[in-house]
Amino acid sequence: MKTATHVRTRNIFGLTAALLLMVAIIVLVLHNDDRTFESPTWLAILNAVFLTAVSLITAVIAILVYIRIGLWRFLALAAGSVIFGMTALLAGLFMKTHGPDVPITIYNIGSLLAAFCYSTSISHFGSISMTEKVPTERIVSVSVTMVLTGVLIVMIFLLSVRHDFPPFFIQGYGSTPIRQVVLGLVIVLFGSTAIFIIRDYLETGTSFNYWFALGLFCITTGFIGAYTMTTAGSILNWVARFSQYIGNLCLLVAVTISLRDVNSKSRATEELVATLFQEPAFNYRLIMDTNPNGIAVVNQQGSIIRWNRQAEHLFGYSGEEAVGSSLVNLILPHQNETINQILVSMQKQTGNLQENITTDLVATCKDGSTRPVSFSILGTKTRLGWMGVVTLADMTERQQAEARIAHLASFPHLNPNPVIELDDTGHIIYANPGAIKRLPDLITLDSKHPFLTDMMKAVRSGERQQMSADIKIDESWFEHVLFYIPGMRNYRLYARDITARKLTEEKLIKSNALLESTNKELDAFTYSVSHDLRAPLRAIDGFARIVSEDYREKLDDEGRRYLDIIMKNASRMAQLISDLLAFSRLSKQEMKSLPIDMNKLVQSSFEDLLPVTETRYIEIKVNPLPLIQGDPVLLKQVMVNLLSNAIKFTHLREDARIEIGGSTESDENVYFVKDNGVGFDQQYADKLFGVFQRLHSEEEFEGNGVGLSIVHRIISRHGGRVWAEGKRNEGATIYFSIPRRGDST
């Protein structure tokens, strides 16, 4: 395509030439010179060259172009040229023999037909009938057209020669009315065709249009001259003819340019388009309707010319509803300014390679709902004017996806705890506000921070994908957890403020230490107390015995009784000290957890108590006992204590009965030891398990009330409970429960 300056020069040159011719015609008309220079030979030669030859060449080229691209207009052009050329030839040939009238008739009628052809070629019909025919079929059309054309020419000739037409021209007078009408039509047709093409040319700037318009203009000028002339062969006549010669040459140039344009397109595209257009089902509509985006073709004013199927789906307007409406009014209300600006700037672009304009807009659908769309427009100048192809892509999903991403992105961003991402060299590529605020040193030192390098080294060595460490920063403690993400080859660091936890831990450690030292002190105390208490006890007991041995005779019964009391108390105190020691020793021992056969435990307890029981008759009933997990030594002590109590408190009865049993409850086992001894008052039941608590006097039953509190202590350490039921003189039942942990026995 020629550049703008080129075009202007051409414009000026052509315009000047055409105007000159026009001026010449007008002058000659006014001047009315009747001199004639008729020379039939010259006329024939000139006609033959400038009209016939040129026209025929034009026709051939037009046919070639038509075969290539199948536009009807070129076929019409070819036909017109052939008619024009042939009638001109005939006119020239028969000027000598038949006088001016017959040739003029032939020529004028031929011109009229040619004019029809030319105006057809640029009409709507000529351009949109983009045929689906293949080259071979086109050749058929060409042949048919040419035959018809030939027939027409022959008809014109014969009719003219036989004077079947009324006379057209009277030498010396001028045109007859019939000629005036015919020529008038010719002028109008050629002239209006020229004007249309000029308008086309002004819009598209194509060379073809320029030369075609120029050609037609000159030819029209020529016919104006012919119309006004009175004498054939006058100067006016010659100038008119000359105009026509020039015009014809321009037409030749126009079709040559077309052929060149058509030939210069890439062969591949041509072949592809050719094969595609063979397929009857395939046409541009298929391309439009299979596109997943909405497509609207709009004209210069923004009215919709085409509306594809996806556009129907997206916006709810059918093709019939959409075509003819303004795009803005239909789906982009309130956005006229934006669209108009786009249209204007689009249309301002010159040249073939236009750049499309893309923007995000909100479209309104038929049902009133809105839809975010990406609006993209690319314009092109066609022979029918500027057209814009608007692609409307639905952005709803993308917007939703973007919203989702933003939402997900907010998770680390809004997290008050530090979240950091590092690349595989240890540089920080993301740090959330929490990190910037609370771990500033980490951020500034970045990969050089010792903590980071240590942790990353450990993770990188492959042993683990994850590492955590508790680190103190200023006055706060942070739990750092570092992950390696193999897929992205990045590290992620999550930190958590655990200051509160650390403080609690420290407190716990301190209180534990305190407890331990207190316990140690208590142990030492207990130990020394028990030993230091024993020595005097030994003395009391010993010397009381000595007195009772050595001075027995000297004492009366009272005296001996007093000594007995002294000795009994001494041994009681010894027992108390032993029990106290045993009681305190309980807390020192580590408790074991082993599976225990309670039945065997009861057996072994009875064996221990054999010395006590062998002098008495006791009925003992042992029910099968469920297994439990616990400390065997401690639980044996429990059983021994309970059995020994049962034995002790039934010793007044002759029909002493002791029953032992156990059951499995939902999450614990419950065992009991029941006797029919002296029992106790239920209202004092809670006192039973207190240290040194007794519900009977020393006279009734020996003992110092530590046995049950030992039982209570041991069972508590197992996580269980103790309780008792009793009735005065009817016996007592001591229950204890031990929770089962995890096993399902």
């Binding site: 020595a535 030994r538 003395a539 010993g542 010397f543 015995r545 000595i546 041994s571």
Partner: protein
């Protein structure tokens, strides 16, 4: 000092315990030649002489030493150690007679080479039995180098 050979050295700070022990031994006629010292210092003086030092050689060699552990001034372990370190003293049987039943005391005593360890029973009868038994055993039954 008796001219007769002293048979028993009783190292005991609790007087009542000492009296009971002597009474028990007397019953078996074992207390004729018995010396009772009341603290560790006195014990060392008796065994190694007045003004003894760590290098002193044993002076008096009783046939049996009954040793309490909790003694004022010098405790039982020290006396045990000194005795067992002496060339001649090491052959004297030492019986620890103490109220402690602690494992650690027992271990320590045996480490130092004690011959026997008895815990004093609280019960008087049992105490008498224990003392008589040990006296009979160590003085009459057991043989020691001269």
């Amino acid at each position: 000092m008796n001219e007769d050979e002293i048979e028993i050295l009783l190292v005991e700070d609790t007087l009542s315990d000492a009296e009971l022990t002597i009474r028990a031994l007397k019953k078996r006629n074992l207390a004729n030649k018995l010396v009772h010292v009341k603290d560790g210092e006195e014990a060392l003086n008796y065994l190694f002489g007045e003004g003894h030092c760590s290098a002193s050689v044993i002076l008096n060699r009783p046939r049996l030493v009954l040793l309490d552990l909790k003694l004022p001034k010098v405790d039982g372990f020290e006396i045990l150690r000194r005795l067992k370190a002496d060339q001649l003293g090491q052959f004297i049987p030492v019986v620890v007679l103490t109220s402690s039943a602690e494992e650690r005391d027992i271990v320590q005593s045996y480490k130092l080479g004690v011959n026997s360890y008895i815990t004093k029973p609280v019960d008087f009868e049992k105490f008498i039995d224990a003392v008589s038994s040990l006296g009979l055993y160590w003085l009459l039954l057991n043989k020691a180098p001269r």
